[in-house]
């Protein structure tokens, strides 16, 4: 019997209500990713401590703590592997500043706001997904 392909597990840290809820709903309806959501860095920390994710999508315009969180993720401070996919979203006018700030962090993808939901989900389809453990044979 074939098993459905595993979906990437993604933590979305996004304060904008309509954007956040739309991304999560579309990904769920189309079975493109399994999202958890948080509205702030503070709300995300317990989730990051408790669960391993394949990718993090974070609005880095929500404050300095967002940049600190990305750095901690790369250092392996949470349950996820240190080299998971990190997508930082930012307003166009902040792009140059954010690009400079993220230079020291390896492999952080920047997505400029406003972006299309399809564009984000398409990027997440390229995220390597941890393979589930094989089912036990009885």
């Amino acid at each position: 019997m074939s098993r459905a392909a595993a979906l990437p597990t993604v933590l979305l840290i996004e304060p904008q209500f309509v954007l956040r809820r739309t991304i999560v709903a579309v990904a769920h309806d189309l079975r493109l990713a399994d999202f958890r959501e948080a509205t702030s860095v503070e709300a995300a920390r317990p989730l990051l401590a408790a669960q391993s994710f394949d990718a993090i999508v974070l609005d880095i315009d929500i404050g300095d703590r967002a940049l600190a969180l990305l750095s901690q993720l790369r250092q392996g401070a949470f349950a996820s592997q240190p080299h998971i996919a990190l997508v930082a979203t930012t307003q166009v006018k902040q792009h140059a500043l954010r690009e400079a700030q993220l230079r020291e962090l390896e492999g952080v993808c920047i997505l400029l706001k406003p972006f299309k939901v399809a564009e984000l989900l398409e990027r997440l389809q390229r995220v390597p997904v941890r393979q589930p453990l094989p089912a036990t044979e009885h």
Binding site: V18, R21, T22, V26, L30
Partner: protein, 165 residues
């Protein structure tokens, strides 16, 4: 032109619409932010939350349109409330129901329309979240899912007194 047909549950539908106390009320951010987001997300010049009253459609939220209401008989949304699924007209000029509609032949020159019906608590379809363009369009699978997700947010706003944001 085919005027928007009257749903078989029109009496109950109008009663449910009135009970929501939304008609002729001031703009509210919980609806406005959804039409702004929809217009941006779909690159649409017009996005609306339209409520279908007895003889008119009245816009609770509007982006890209100055009018506060139009006649129900010429409304696309009057057709959309007959369906649970998305109601999409890819090119109104090529559609016999709408080709000579004054909203197509004149301002705002509708060519593309996509409407997601909105529901009262009892399931009565009381209006739509709709997208309008002045050129022919199609909606892909992800875009249709986005419109469905936004429909859910507007339905939640309709049924909630408080703003969750």
């Amino acid at each position: 032109m085919q005027a928007a047909p009257t749903p078989i549950n029109e009496t109950e539908r109008l009663r449910a619409l009135k009970a929501l106390s939304l008609l002729d009320t001031p703009p509210e951010e919980r609806f406005d932010r959804v039409v702004r987001f929809a217009a941006e997300q779909f690159d649409m010049p017009i996005a609306l939350v339209s409520l279908i009253d007895r003889d008119r459609q009245w816009f609770k939220a509007r982006f890209g349109l100055d009018a506060r209401q139009t006649g129900r008989d010429i409304s696309f949304c009057g057709h959309a409330i007959l369906h649970d699924e998305l109601f999409i007209v890819e090119d109104a000029q090529q559609d016999a129901r709408f080709a000579d509609n004054p909203l197509v032949t004149g301002d705002p020159h509708v060519r593309f329309y996509a409407g997601a019906s909105l529901s009262a608590a009892g399931g009565e379809r009381i209006g739509t979240l709709c997208l309008i363009d002045r050129v022919p369009r199609t909606l892909g699978a992800v875009e249709q899912a986005v419109l469905e997700a936004l429909r859910t947010l507007v339905n939640e706003a309709i049924h909630s007194e408080s703003d969750p944001a």
